[in-house]
Assembly symmetry: C2
Homo-oligomer: 240 residues x 2
C-alpha cells in the first residue's frame, strides 16, 4: 500500500523497510531541494514511493537516517541511505542509467557541476528577498545583487545559444536549477528578471516540460504554504 | 619546455596554449585545495604541466580563465577550463579513466560525496584554530568543535573497519581529505587528534603513500610558508 502523502511527525511510527523494486524518497511537498529529487525520479521514470516529513516536528527515526534532518533523503530496499540534493540526483543518475540526464562528455559534466556550484550562491537570494519583504525590510541591496547573479545565468544561456543550460534538450542541470524559478512569482522576485530575456525563455520552456508539470505546484499553492511557513505554522499538508 | 615553477604575477605574460597530449594545472605550491588536483594527477599518472599563480597579485589572464581567482584550475589543449577542486578531481577521474580512484558502485560513490560534503564543514576549523592562535586569540571553543568533527571522522573509519575512508585501498576521498591533515602539525591542531586512534592510523598510512610523498611538503616548509602568509607577504616560491 502506498504511504499516506500526509506529513509524518514525531509521533508517527517508523515506516517498514522499503519494498523490493522500489526506492523511497523522504520529502516535503513544498521543499525545492526535495523537488530536485522528485524531478529526477519522474524524468527517469524510477518506481518510487514518497514519505513526507513534518520538518518542524521530525520523527526520531528520520533523524537516525539523516542526522542533519534535511530532505531529500533516499532509501533503498537494502537500507542504503543517501542525502544532500545534488548527491541524491547523481545517485539516481548512476543507479538508474537507462534514461540519462547527464551528458557523457567529462567536460560537459564538469560544466554542469561548475554552474550548479555558481547557482548554489544564487539560491540564498530567493530567501533573502522574499523573507525580507514579508518582514517589511528593505531588500533593495539584495535585489541588486540578485539581478547581477541572474544576469550571469542569462549570459550563460545567451553565450551557449541553446534553449536549456546543458544544450537544446533538457538535462540534469535544468532540473537542479528549476525549483526556485517555479517559485519566482510567489517569492516576489519576478521583477528582477526583467532584463534576462534568455532566462525568461528558459522559464517558459520549463513550465511546458511534462516532468515539471507533474511535480509542480501553482503559484497560489506555493503562496499559501509560504505564508503559513512565515507565520511559524507551516501547512505541509495544504491541498491534501 | 616545462613552465617555471616560480609563481606568475600580474606582470607575467600569458602562457601559450596547452601543448597537445598534456593537461595544465594552475596551482599554488602550498595550497591544499590545489594539492587535491596534484594528488589525483599523480595517482592517475596523467601527463601534466603546472603553472603556479601569485595569488596576491593575480594576472588578468588568470582571472579571465577563472573569475573567482581560486586554484586549482585545469586547462586542456582544446582550451577547456575546469575549476573548483572537487570538480577538477572528478573531471580527471572521468577524462582519464584508465586508473580508477572512485568506486564503481553508485552507493559507494554517493557515500564518498556525502563524506566530502561533511568534511567541507571541517576544513574551516583548521584555519580558525591556526590563524586564531597566531593572532593570540582564544581558540578553545573552536578546538572543542573541531574535536567533535574529527571524532566523527574517526567513528566513520572505526565503523567501516577499513584502513582508508573508501575501503582497504586508497581512493579519491582519501586524497580529497588529506591535504589539511598533512598540515595538522604546522597548523597546531595535532593535539585535537588525541582521541582519534583510527584517524591517526589513517594519517600514518597516508604519509607512507607514494602519491602523497610525491606531492607533499615537510611541516617545516609548510610552517615557513604559513608564517609568511600570516605576515601578509606569502613566500609562494619558498624552497625554489
Amino acid at each position: 500500500m502506498a504511504p499516506s502523502p500526509k506529513c509524518q511527525g514525531k509521533a508517527c511510527p517508523a515506516p517498514g523497510p522499503v519494498p523490493n523494486g522500489l526506492i523511497r524518497l523522504y520529502s516535503m511537498r513544498f521543499c525545492p531541494f526535495a523537488q530536485r529529487a522528485r524531478l529526477v525520479l519522474t524524468a527517469k521514470g524510477v518506481k518510487h514511493e514518497i514519505i513526507n516529513i513534518n520538518l518542524k516536528d521530525k520523527p526520531d527515526w528520520f533523524l537516525e537516517k539523516n542526522p542533519s534532518g534535511t530532505v531529500p533523503v533516499l532509501e533503498t530496499s537494502s537500507g542504503q541511505v543517501i542525502y544532500e540534493s545534488p548527491i541524491t540526483c547523481e545517485y539516481l543518475e548512476e543507479a538508474y542509467p537507462e534514461k540519462k540526464l547527464l551528458p557523457s562528455d567529462p567536460f560537459e559534466r564538469a560544466q554542469q557541476k561548475m554552474l550548479l556550484d555558481h547557482y548554489s550562491k544564487v539560491i540564498p537570494y530567493f530567501y533573502k528577498i522574499s523573507m525580507g519583504k514579508k518582514r517589511g525590510e528593505d531588500v533593495s541591496a539584495a535585489e541588486v545583487e540578485f539581478k547581477d547573479k541572474v544576469s550571469q545565468l542569462n549570459e550563460y544561456l545567451a553565450k551557449k545559444k541553446t534553449k536549456y543550460f546543458g544544450g537544446n534538450s533538457i538535462t540534469m542541470i535544468d532540473y537542479l536549477i528549476w525549483p526556485w524559478f517555479e517559485r519566482a512569482e510567489m517569492m516576489g522576485v519576478k521583477h528582477c528578471l526583467a532584463n534576462t530575456p534568455e532566462l525568461r525563455k528558459w522559464i517558459e520552456c520549463m513550465f511546458e516540460d511534462p516532468v515539471v508539470k507533474a511535480t509542480m505546484f501553482s503559484t497560489e499553492d506555493h503562496k499559501v504554504f509560504f505564508n503559513s511557513y512565515m507565520d511559524g505554522n507551516p501547512n505541509y499538508d495544504h491541498g491534501l
